[in-house]
């Protein structure tokens, strides 16, 4: 592994971290709403959240490329507010990763919230806890395992992201060149040893993360 590879690894870790944090911030209220609402069209939103599970990442990446470019809907917006184009930028990758890993964060959270049920919240209300207070003092602690799962899955999933980055990344070292792209390029250039090192490293990291999730969940015998 040389410098370029280490840079790729750092970019990857940074992308996974930032995306996971963004997803937890955006996904928590979304998951909470989905878990509680009775709106009869909520299935539409649930489908949208779940789409990245089934869509080929390249499809996602392709549409993102079109949308983020200066003539696309998102691109026009970002240009208008002075942000320039998100294509070929780390921020663009974050946008792509957030969409790509959304179901992996939102669904565990939604399940955790739903499993809490309404009773603990009603109890807390009768004990003088305001809605926000109830969320922090009752929902969050009870949903902690769900948060851990969501964070780890979101992180691990983004680590392995390829198709989306391939489409909108532009392979810029230090900015958008992530490990999965680097491995691909090494293979293309017949640098199989370096590919092995990087791929093996990513595999180990993913294994450890997932083992963590399953180990933590194993401690919970009852909900």
């Amino acid at each position: 592994m040389n410098d370029a590879d280490i840079v790729a690894l750092l970019v990857t870790l940074k992308l996974a971290l930032v995306s996971t944090v963004v997803l937890l911030i955006l996904g928590t209220p979304l998951a909470w709403w989905l878990a509680r609402t009775q709106w009869r069209f909520k299935f539409i939103l649930e489908t949208l959240v779940a789409l990245p599970l089934v869509l080929p990442p390249t499809v996602l990446g392709f549409y993102l490329l079109v949308a983020l470019s200066p003539t696309g809907p998102v691109g026009t917006l970002t240009n208008a507010i002075g942000l320039g184009s998100l294509a070929f930028s780390f921020s663009g990758l974050v946008v792509g990763s957030v969409i790509y890993s959304m179901p992996f964060v939102v669904q565990p959270l939604q399940d955790a919230f739903r499993n809490i049920g309404t009773r603990p919240l009603e109890v807390a209300a009768t004990l003088r806890a305001s809605p926000l207070d109830r969320f922090y003092s009752v929902v969050l602690p009870l949903a902690k395992p769900g948060f851990i799962t969501a964070a780890v899955l979101g992180f691990a999933h983004t680590l392995g992201e390829f198709g989306v980055v391939l489409m909108i990344g532009g392979n810029i070292p230090g900015e958008t060149q992530v490990v999965s792209i680097a491995i691909y390029d090494h293979v293309e250039m017949l640098e199989y040893t370096r590919a092995h090192w990087l791929a093996g490293g990513l595999l180990m990291l993913s294994f450890v993360m997932l083992a963590l999730v399953y180990r933590l969940r194993g401690f919970r015998v009852s909900s």
Partner: protein
């Protein structure tokens, strides 16, 4: 019963009449290949089935046993390696086309490479480490003294097709791509002189020796074949 036999015969006939041929083709040749395929069928009765990909990916697949009869690469290096490792049939390697690189933008008006020093958002090229067009792009830009200064704006596609996609979608407003990709499109073209970079020679090799395979390679060298290749933006040796 007679009807079923007739139906079967209709399905089988083309295969019985001519062979099927698996051809691995570098993606940049995708504009030419269908026409070559038609020509091939008309003149020989054989059917060519094209599998596209980046040269590197196809090479890796071939080396690992992919059952292609013929490999049309976008470079010289890979066919050479195949020949050396005796995966390819010896003495079958030749140059079938020479790529023409162009600077292209569907939106910006320009008539010289000086446009690159001015306000472009991104310059799309094929990855110079992986793709011959990328390699040529780097050579050209280095000769023009622009390689270093453009580093912040260069975005790399995995191959010249993805470089084109970046420009096409508007994410990059200019790119170094192949003439064959843009010759029929709306936009501004600057043909990069061939002496600004080493020639983008595209070579072919024979992998599995069959009549149909040899016929295909022969077609590429034939007058009719060369005309098709030139028509779609390539030079011929």
């Amino acid at each position: 019963m007679k009807n079923i036999l007739l139906l079967l015969a209709l399905f089988v006939a083309p295969h019985v009449l001519g062979d099927e041929l698996n051809v691995a083709i570098a993606s940049n040749f995708s504009s030419v290949s269908p026409h070559l395929g038609e020509l091939f069928f008309e003149t020989t009765g054989h059917r060519a089935v094209f599998s596209y990909g980046s040269t590197g990916k196809l090479y890796a697949q071939i080396v690992n046993g992919a059952p292609f009869h013929v490999f049309l690469s976008a470079d010289v290096a890979r066919p050479k390696l195949l020949e050396q490792s005796q995966v390819a049939i010896s003495d079958s390697r030749f140059t079938y086309a020479i790529g023409q690189m162009v600077l292209w933008s569907p939106t910006i008006e320009f008539d010289s490479p000086e446009i690159l020093s001015s306000d472009i958002n991104h310059l799309a090229i094929a990855n110079e480490k992986l793709a011959p067009y990328g390699h040529a792009a780097k050579q050209f830009l280095s000769r023009a003294g622009l390689w270093d200064s453009l580093q912040g704006k260069i975005v790399r596609g995995e191959n010249v097709a993805q470089a084109l996609l970046f420009v096409d979608s508007g994410a990059a407003n200019i790119g170094l791509v192949s003439l064959s990709q843009v010759q029929f499109r709306q936009g501004n073209v600057y043909a990069v002189p061939s002496d600004e970079h080493s020639p983008i020679a595209q070579q072919a090799v024979l992998l599995i020796d069959t009549t149909a395979a040899r016929a295909f390679l022969a077609l590429l060298r034939s007058e009719a074949g060369r005309q098709v290749i030139q028509k779609y933006g390539y030079l011929v040796p």
